[in-house]
């Protein structure tokens, strides 16, 4: 094969890698759909084990501990972490469908947090049936506003949404700092940068007795269902899909691209905002620094690994929720927290690598298939 031919082929494969996989998976490759991620995780664990081994630790013991604590002993904590991850990842996936790179879920998360907190602090006396729907709406709104900004910039001025949405993350974070160091600081909080604790009525109720799993789980499930309906059953979802594949074809199809970019960003942000609202009212009960350990960024990874499928997002989020919550276990068995981040990185690296290989195989199968029917 000449260099040129190889380059052309590579280009074709690249194109394929960045589009959604076809709906129908070929029988010969169907098994790979399951095997690939499993093998990838196994590979990641092997690398992690080697790493631990060479730093003089009992690798098997540590990995076993992590698994046991994340998915058996403290599974409820994993679910708690999975709630904001799912919501934010759903939002991110919605925008990614139209190939809009919304990297700003973290900022949109804080957008929701800020509005929800403002409501909780302003109306401490309202009963739960009033304040909670109000805060849900506020969370959605806060995230939506934060998503609207990069959306408008992209739709009207063609400003690269990756940069604008990413930069707005820092703005949101600093804005949060301003409030908790300034006007919202708890006067009785010994000068710590935290707000007052929310009234009991403005806390999301606990869903499973004896755990921290809160009502946000219901939001996550409902959101997954709504997003699924939206992207795969509605005309608007179809428009998003066409935009994601080819903007020129979308224009040719008469799709209002400007409007859809804005709507996609607003919805995407709203979901991340809901994640923020449920985290601050369901888990923390007050606004404090580092409310999110990077949920908005992890959400991007989750959305991709789930191939933007709303239901798959839910399960991948639980896997990552386990990784997030394993940090504490690591410390307990004498491993530094830095290693958790490293482990997450290794998992990500292997899964993405596996995904890339998987799509290559899929592409080649599709090509072979289509070639066999041609005259």
């Amino acid at each position: 094969m000449s260099l040129k031919q190889r380059a052309v082929k590579e280009l074709e494969i690249q194109k394929y890698l960045f589009t959604l996989p076809p709906r129908r998976i070929y029988p010969s490759t169907a098994i790979l759909t399951v095997v690939t991620p499993v093998l990838s995780v196994v590979a990641a664990l092997l690398i992690a084990a080697l790493l631990l081994f060479f730093s003089g630790k009992d690798a098997l013991f540590i990995l076993g501990e992590i698994f046991h604590s994340s998915f058996v002993e403290n599974f409820s904590e994993t679910v708690v972490k999975a709630i904001p991850l799912t919501l934010a990842a759903l939002g991110v996936a919605l925008a990614f469908r139209a190939r809009l790179w919304n990297i700003g879920a973290e900022g949109q998360f804080y957008g929701g947090v800020l509005v929800a907190t403002a409501l909780a602090l302003s109306f401490p006396g309202l009963p739960a049936p009033v304040i909670i729907p109000l805060m849900v709406a506020g969370g959605l709104l806060g995230g939506a506003i934060w998503g609207l900004l990069p959306g408008l910039l992209r739709a009207w001025l063609d400003v690269n949404e990756i940069i604008s949405s990413l930069m707005l993350n820092y703005v949101a974070l600093l804005l949060t700092d301003y409030f908790i160091f300034g006007p919202w600081k708890d006067p009785k909080g010994f000068n710590f940068p935290v707000t007052r604790t929310f009234s009991d009525d403005s806390r999301l109720p606990v869903l499973v007795e004896g755990t921290r799993i809160h009502f946000g789980l219901i939001f996550a499930i409902v959101a997954a269902a709504v997003v699924w309906l939206l992207v795969s059953r509605t005309r608007w979802g179809f428009e998003l899909k066409v935009m994601g594949d080819n903007l020129k074809a979308a224009r040719y199809a008469g799709i209002n691209i400007t409007r859809n970019i804005i709507i996609a960003f607003v919805l995407s942000g709203a979901l991340a905002g809901l994640a923020g609202m449920s985290e601050v009212t369901g888990v923390a009960g007050r606004l404090q620094q580092n409310l999110s350990p990077g949920y908005g960024y992890t959400a991007i990874i989750i959305a991709w690994l789930a191939r933007l499928n709303p239901w798959a997002i839910f399960f991948v989020a639980i896997l990552f929720g386990g990784l997030v919550s394993s940090g504490f276990t690591m410390q307990r068995v004498g491993v530094s927290v830095g290693l958790v981040t490293l482990l997450q990185g290794i998992v990500l690296f292997c899964v993405l690598g596996g995904e890339s290989l998987y799509r290559r195989l899929l592409y080649q199968t599709a090509l072979r298939r289509s070639n066999t029917v041609k005259e």
Partner: protein, 540 residues
């Protein structure tokens, strides 16, 4: 660095290609092409779009390797291992779309292509050398200026200077005058003549016959990937006409379609009678249409014409002369600066695409994979692409897939589309099958006017014949059809009238008859000449 010593003796062979064949999936782009350029010669390379000129240039530039055949440089058998190797061996290709880094200076762009020196750049020295070189060959460029700040003409000179500086003795220019003003063109020609007189071998790729006969001493004409003739241009009358005929006179494919009985020609009389019997209102009336184009010469300028029901009009011309812009403007995909587009009396200028489509104007763009379809999506999605908003596919905000699946099934049957898997991405369909699918989609809404750009480009003969028949059928059912065609044979076969475009203007309206005089006229109009008695030479 700058090499003049290699400039060979005038009259010796500079480059010789023997039996070059290069295949791409489904097409033979170069079919045993023989081509020779001598040192000191300006050799024109002519051909319609898709005749194989670009492939040949890319082979010379080292981008493609020929599947078969040999390349001789200065009578020495050579393999060009890549663009860098080609440059090293003295071949410089200046493409129509320049390959320069806009935010670097001319000198820096030149330095980019240099192998020596490895570490220390003396940009001042390069700038001085370039200035001198520019003065010698009438190619003056401000060597210290950034490319982005230069005019198109200057950028081109920078490209040529770079090639010369890197040691090119064989210089290929791909449609060098396409975006130049007449004054710049003249300057370029002076430079090219001077280079040739010093022993450089010049390959001049162009569509413009006037330029070719005034500049080149020989011309090789490519047609359907084959080199059909090499002519000595001696300045005698009739040369232009001869080239025009050679370029467009292909009948082979159409002939074979006829022989295979896949299509039948309508007797000319019948067509004319039909037209005269039904003196109806025109379906499409375009008046004084101005549209801004992608390039200098592709803006549509004050175009007016009509298409009647049951008529197939062909917009012909060399690609890039405004046909695409015109079609896109009609379909609502490009802004109309001024003028009107009346479809059955309703002005569609600057109306949204969907409304235009709803009014009964169907459009199949030339770029089937890039615009006409969302190629990563499956066939069903692509079948729905233009119609998903229609009530038959809607239930509230939801998209009804069942009628779509049914419609797709019908289309696959009716248009005999060969598909492996309806859920595989559309890009895996062959060109012919994709075109059939898109035709099925566009015709489903029974349009009053169908616009198709290059309906059979890249299609094999069976698929072409199928598309031709379908288009005729649409016309016979009373719709108006407007085709944008680069292949004139196709235009003769299908159309009732030909509209010739050149540099965004409508040059004339001619019958599709194949008489030598008419053929010649079309060729001349396409190349920008008027029909008046022809004098040799360039009029600035």
């Amino acid at each position: 660095m700058f090499v003049t010593t290699r400039t060979p003796v005038i009259g010796t062979s500079a480059v010789r290609l023997t039996d070059i064949t290069r295949r791409f999936p489904g097409i033979v782009a170069n079919d045993r092409v023989n081509f020779e350029v001598k040192a000191g010669e300006i050799h024109a390379l002519l051909g319609e779009n898709g005749a194989g000129k670009s492939t040949l240039l890319n082979i010379l530039a080292g981008f493609y390797r020929p599947d078969e055949g040999e390349i001789f440089l200065r009578d020495e058998k050579t393999v060009l291992r890549g663009p860098a190797d080609a440059i090293k061996k003295g071949v410089g290709v200046v493409y129509q779309h320049f390959k320069l880094v806009p935010n670097q200076t001319v000198a820096e762009n030149v330095a980019l292509g240099m192998r020596q020196p490895r570490f220390f750049l003396n940009l001042k020295k390069i700038e001085q050398d370039l200035d001198e070189l520019g003065r010698n060959y009438n190619l003056a460029v401000r060597a210290g200026a950034k490319i982005g700040s230069l005019s198109v003409g200057e950028q081109q000179r920078a490209e040529i200077l770079r090639a010369l500086y890197l040691g090119a003795t064989i210089l290929a220019l791909d449609e060098p005058t396409a975006n130049l003003t007449p004054k710049e063109t003249e300057g370029l020609f002076t430079a090219v003549r001077r280079l040739a007189s010093q022993g450089f071998a010049i390959i001049f790729v162009s569509h413009k016959l006037e330029e070719v006969v005034s500049l080149a001493s020989r011309a090789t004409i490519l047609r359907g990937g084959k080199a059909v003739a090499t002519l000595e241009l001696k300045g005698q009358p009739g040369e232009k006409e001869q080239i025009a005929r050679l370029m467009i006179g292909r009948e082979a494919d159409i002939q074979s379609e006829l022989e295979l009985g896949m299509i039948e020609l309508l007797p000319e009389k019948a067509v004319k009678e039909a037209a005269s019997v039904t003196p109806t209102e025109p379906t499409l009336v375009v008046r004084d249409l101005n549209v801004k184009g992608e390039m200098l010469n592709s803006s549509v300028k004050k175009v007016s014409f009509e298409v009647y029901p049951g008529e197939m009009a062909g917009l012909v011309g060399v690609a890039g002369n405004g046909q695409r812009e015109l079609a896109e403007a009609l379909a609502g995909l490009r802004k109309v600066e001024s003028g009107s587009v009346l479809l059955n009396g309703v002005n569609l200028a600057n109306k949204p695409v969907r409304q235009v489509h709803k009014m009964g104007l169907a459009f199949l763009p030339e770029d089937r994979l890039g615009t006409g379809s969302a190629a990563g999506l499956n066939l069903e999605d692509n079948f729905l692409l233009r119609d998903y908003w229609r009530p038959e596919y809607s239930a509230g905000p939801f998209l009804r897939r069942r009628p779509a699946r049914q419609g797709l099934g019908e289309a696959i049957g009716q248009y005999s589309i060969t598909v492996g898997d309806v859920y595989a991405p559309a890009r895996l369909l062959s060109g012919g099958n994709l075109q059939k699918l898109l035709l099925a989609r566009e015709l489903r809404s029974q349009p009053k006017l169908l616009i198709v750009a290059n309906p059979t480009r890249g299609l094999d003969i069976n698929a072409s014949a199928y598309v031709h028949n379908k288009l005729r059928q649409v016309r016979e059912q009373g719709a108006a059809v407007l085709l944008i065609l680069e292949d004139l044979d196709e235009a003769f076969l299908l159309c009732d009238q030909l509209l010739v475009m050149y540099e965004g203007r409508l040059m004339g309206q001619l019958p599709p008859s194949r008489t030598p005089a008419n053929l010649e006229n079309i060729g001349l109009l396409m190349a920008g000449s008027s029909l008046a008695p022809i004098h040799r030479g360039m009029q600035p």
